[in-house]
């Protein structure tokens, strides 16, 4: 299997296409009325140009390639990792650098790792944990299924798909399994699936990390190891257990399997006959078919936080690779059809009693919670502080609660609320849906 993960050198022609115009620094819309908001968490926190959005990262990339900047400088190494890789800057850019921005940031990190410098010490623990335990949480394998104990106790155990067939693989993800707060997400998801009588199973202790953490930190080798193992598992499950749908409630896993895994030369072959969907996507289709009925009322005013990984990270860019349409490398267009902006909102607004209000920075201009890109581990204080900014934005609406569809956002936004003394909780959409679904008869 070959992996087409580009090096910084291979991306050089793209980061030299950054005009340094600074459009990436704020989310601006002409309207009318015009609307201008900060979009870059690192720029907001650290202020210096290099920290600011894709313009800053293009500068770093140029500096590394021309030899001026060296990863042996610990401050520079930190600066490279002081970015959530949220792609907020990418959404603003209008030039040919646009499609490649998160790639370049991660390629910078891969360069740091390849030269023996990156990632940062705390982040190295994550990668080592993946090697030791197949998860970044240093959790022994048996802990992966602790969240399923209540189901066993209630005599409604979750199917072990290693042993029994099912058309749906519920890919839980490491955060949902090992993070005590985020366990609410797979718990709610599994309860929903059971209420709907869906035939699904989990890999349980055999589940291996999707590799998103490693990829975001620049450890391409570790990513390839787990991604290859997962692709082989998925193919085997399809052939031997009848799996035709992989559902996940984790935005990070979703992005990894849906996008990062396509860098494999064998992706199409190994994933033939398998659909990968986010739980929200899956439930939305059931709602449209009349199979998802909300019986209870929830008299809440809520707002929705778009996670980066279920939103703009799923953009598909049309690029004139060979110059046959415009010129070589020309960015032509963006396709947002796979971004989950509308579906979570429609589900929320279909729940009786819910009053839905929007924040200012939403959809493709959602302000990152601050947890991604290795920041939660590398710079926990900053991650929580940034989450506090997002919570404050939610509080400017009349919302009592925030809803999201990513366990990282779920955890970090709740941390941010604690830190800033806010009473606004963040729920995962699966928790909300589970509250209003009738019990299985």
């Amino acid at each position: 299997m070959k992996w087409n993960i580009p090096s910084l050198k291979e991306l050089e022609k793209y980061f030299w296409r950054c005009t340094a115009c600074g459009t990436c620094r704020s989310a601006y819309d002409y309207g009318p009325p015009p609307n201008a908001r900060p979009i870059c968490p690192a720029g907001t926190e650290f202020g210096f140009e290099g920290y600011y959005s894709s313009k800053g990262k293009a500068a770093y990339a140029r500096g590394v390639m021309d030899g001026t900047l060296d990863f042996d400088d610990p401050e520079f190494l930190e600066a490279v990792y002081k970015c959530t890789v949220c792609a907020g800057c990418q959404n603003q850019c209008q030039v040919d650098f646009k499609p490649h921005i998160p790639e370049v940031i991660e390629a910078l990190r891969r360069e740091a790792v390849a030269r023996g410098a990156g990632p940062l010490p705390l982040q190295k623990n994550l990668v080592q944990s993946m090697k030791n335990y197949n998860n970044p949480y240093q959790g022994p394998r048996r802990v992966r299924t602790e969240w399923t104990r209540p189901f066993k106790k209630a005599k409604t155990p979750i199917k072990n798909i290693n042993k029994k067939s099912a058309p749906i693989l519920f890919y839980v993800g490491c955060t949902g399994a090992f993070n005590q707060v985020a366990r609410a997400v797979p718990t709610a998801t599994a309860q929903i699936f059971q209420k709907l009588d869906l035939d699904f199973g989990i890999l349980g202790e055999n589940e291996v990390c999707c590799g998103s953490t490693a990829m975001r930190l620049g450890d391409a080798d570790e990513f390839k190891r787990v991604a290859t193992a997962n692709l082989e598992t998925f193919q085997k499950l399809h052939e031997e257990r009848g799996v035709n749908t992989i559902v996940t409630s984790c935005a990070g896993c979703y992005r990894a399997i849906k996008k990062d895994y396509t860098l494999s030369s064998d992706f199409d072959k190994m994933m033939a006959g398998i659909k990968v969907v986010h739980t929200v996507d899956y439930l939305y289709d059931l709602l449209q078919e009349g199979k998802l009925k909300f019986e209870k009322e929830l008299p809440w005013t809520v707002t929705y936080h778009d996670p980066c990984h279920t939103g703009r990270h799923l953009n598909k860019f049309k690029v004139d690779e060979d110059g046959s349409e415009l010129w070589e490398g020309a960015y032509i267009d963006v396709d947002e059809s796979e971004c989950l902006y509308d579906r979570p909102r429609e589900i929320l607004q279909a729940i009786p009693g819910i009053k839905f209000v929007e924040m200012d920075r939403i959809r493709a201009n959602s302000y990152c919670c601050g947890g991604g890109g290795g920041v939660m581990t590398g710079f926990g204080d900053w991650a929580a502080k940034n989450a506090g900014i997002r919570v404050a934005e939610a509080m400017e609406t009349s919302a009592e609660k925030m809803v999201t569809t990513c366990p990282f956002c779920h955890y970090n936004l709740n941390e941010g609320a604690k830190r800033s003394g806010s009473s606004m909780p963040t729920h995962d959409l699966t928790e909300i849906i589970n509250m209003v679904l009738p019990e299985k008869e």
Binding site: G22, T23, R25, S26, P33, A36, E49, D96
Partner: protein
């Protein structure tokens, strides 16, 4: 570090002193931070500052400048760094003074129609705030994240040039930190704390800080006139086959003073993006397009403007010019009428095809010289395989306006960079010889200006500069004196 600097300073001590002024997190000599400030989109070659400092208050700036004078360290003010003249790239190292954290809109007086802003306020930010009061300002075609103040004090233009003049002409008062660290006020705010309405009738001291390329002080507060938004927009678009006919139309229309913005662009500049390298215009396409933005308060007012415009069109056509009423390329029209804009602002319009570099001979040129200058520019640029992507905009009145060639080039390639530079300097010389003057000039232009300048002008410039900045620390070298 610069030679001047290493002879007299100790880097660690300097950093500690700067951190003592602005806080530890706001001052650094880290190379990766300095690197990101060392270049911009222009042909000006990169140069590193020695330190980068972010100021949050006028007091910070005062103390930094006092310290810089003591140590003889240059100081280069910076807001967004999106000028196309390399103005924030230090000629002699020193302290890069980043003002982006000073981003408060201090006051919007919706009754008296002025606003008071700090240097870090962006066009996008101000556009949003003013819109709530149904007010507007002259938004340039630069990025929405660029600084209102920096544009205005550098004689930047906006979308209201024809009606109100340049953005520098909209300045109503200033607060400035002099290069020697004193805090001064200019205009009505000098007499009454909260009064920012006018620089007149007192001596026009604002001229000491406008057009000086950041070398005469740091503007910490700026009062600007703002205007109501007439709700009825009508854009008149025409085309001509040659620059002479387009100038004739613009001169004629300008006499009636009905436009907010009267601009013409050559075919190459009307493409999104500008073709790079040069390619011939298709034979069936006009060489010049014009858009004339008018904003009216009532339909009747709009109709009256339309009547005037139709009269002008009829007159021009009767003269036998090539003028036609025409459709303006849609994306380009949006880029230039829906301001601030991400299309032009991101330079998607300008340099996307070339690969990230853009520079210009951007000039204020007598309108009756536009045609001969353009014709010479066209020859020069095509000879360098560059598109003659030129803009003409009538400023208030009919005697002068912007004449500017937007020249994209591949920034990664030093030969392309140099090719563009040579062509642009050659164009600039032609313009100077016809009585034009460049705005926001890189040092390459300053040399040419000063070569031609009246000795009295140069002497006065030097004297004022020395008076304000006796140690020559304020963005030294930019004026070429």
């Amino acid at each position: 570090m610069t030679e001047m600097h290493t002879e007299s300073t100790d880097q660690q001590r300097i950093i500690k002193e700067l951190q003592a002024i602005v806080g530890e997190k706001n001052a650094t000599a880290a190379k990766h931070v300095r690197y990101a400030y060392s270049y911009d989109m222009s042909f000006v070659l990169p140069k590193l500052p020695d330190y980068v400092v972010m100021a949050e208050t006028p007091e910070h700036i005062q103390n930094i400048l006092r310290f810089a004078n003591q140590e003889k360290i240059p100081v280069v003010p910076f807001t967004a760094g999106t000028n196309i003249g390399g103005l924030c790239i230090p000629e002699r190292g020193g302290i890069l003074l980043d003002l982006k954290k000073m981003n408060k809109i201090i006051k919007i007086d919706a009754e008296s129609h002025y606003a008071v802003i700090e240097p870090g306020v962006s066009h996008g930010q101000l556009a949003e705030a003013l819109h709530e009061h149904k007010l507007r300002f002259g938004w340039p075609v630069g990025p929405p994240s660029a600084s209102v103040s920096s544009c205005a004090i550098s004689h930047g233009i906006g979308g209201l040039n024809a009606r109100y003049g340049l953005n520098s002409q909209e300045i109503t008062s200033m607060e400035v930190v002099l290069p020697t660290g004193e805090l001064v006020r200019v205009g009505s705010c000098a007499i009454q704390e909260d009064s920012w309405h006018s620089t007149m009738p007192m001596p026009k001291l604002d001229g000491l800080f406008k057009g000086w390329l950041g070398s005469s002080g740091v503007v910490t507060k700026l009062g600007i006139a703002v205007h109501p938004i007439p709700p009825v927009l009508k854009v008149f678009t025409v085309s001509c086959d040659n620059v002479e006919d387009m100038y004739s139309y613009m001169l004629n229309l300008s006499n009636y003073e009905i436009c907010d913005d009267l601009t013409a662009v050559s075919w190459w500049l009307a493409q999104v993006p500008i073709p790079y390298p040069y390619r011939e215009k298709p034979d069936d396409q006009p060489e010049w397009f014009s858009f004339a933005n008018t904003n009216s308060f009532t339909e009747k007012e709009k109709e009256a403007r339309e009547e005037i415009w139709e009269t002008v069109v009829a007159e021009e056509q009767k003269k036998g010019t090539s003028l036609k009423v025409t459709e303006y390329p849609e994306e380009a029209l949006r880029a230039r009428t829906q301001l601030p804009s991400q299309i032009v602002g991101s330079t998607k319009n300008y340099c996307k095809m070339a690969g990230a570099g853009i520079s210009w001979p951007g000039t204020f040129t007598p309108a009756n010289k536009w045609a001969p200058v353009y014709n010479e520019w066209k020859q020069i640029l095509i000879a360098h395989k560059l598109s003659p992507s030129v803009r003409m905009s009538m400023y208030r009145g009919v005697h002068y306006g912007m004449l500017r060639a937007m020249i994209p080039f591949g920034k990664q390639n030093p030969e392309e960079n140099e090719n563009a530079r040579r062509a642009i300097v050659e164009c600039l010389k032609v313009d100077l010889d016809h009585g034009g003057m460049p705005y926001k000039p890189p040092v390459d232009f300053g040399v040419e200006i000063n070569r031609r300048a009246h000795p009295g002008y140069l002497e006065l410039l030097k004297r004022v500069k020395q008076m304000l900045d006796p140690n020559d620390i304020m963005n030294p070298g930019k004026l070429g004196i």
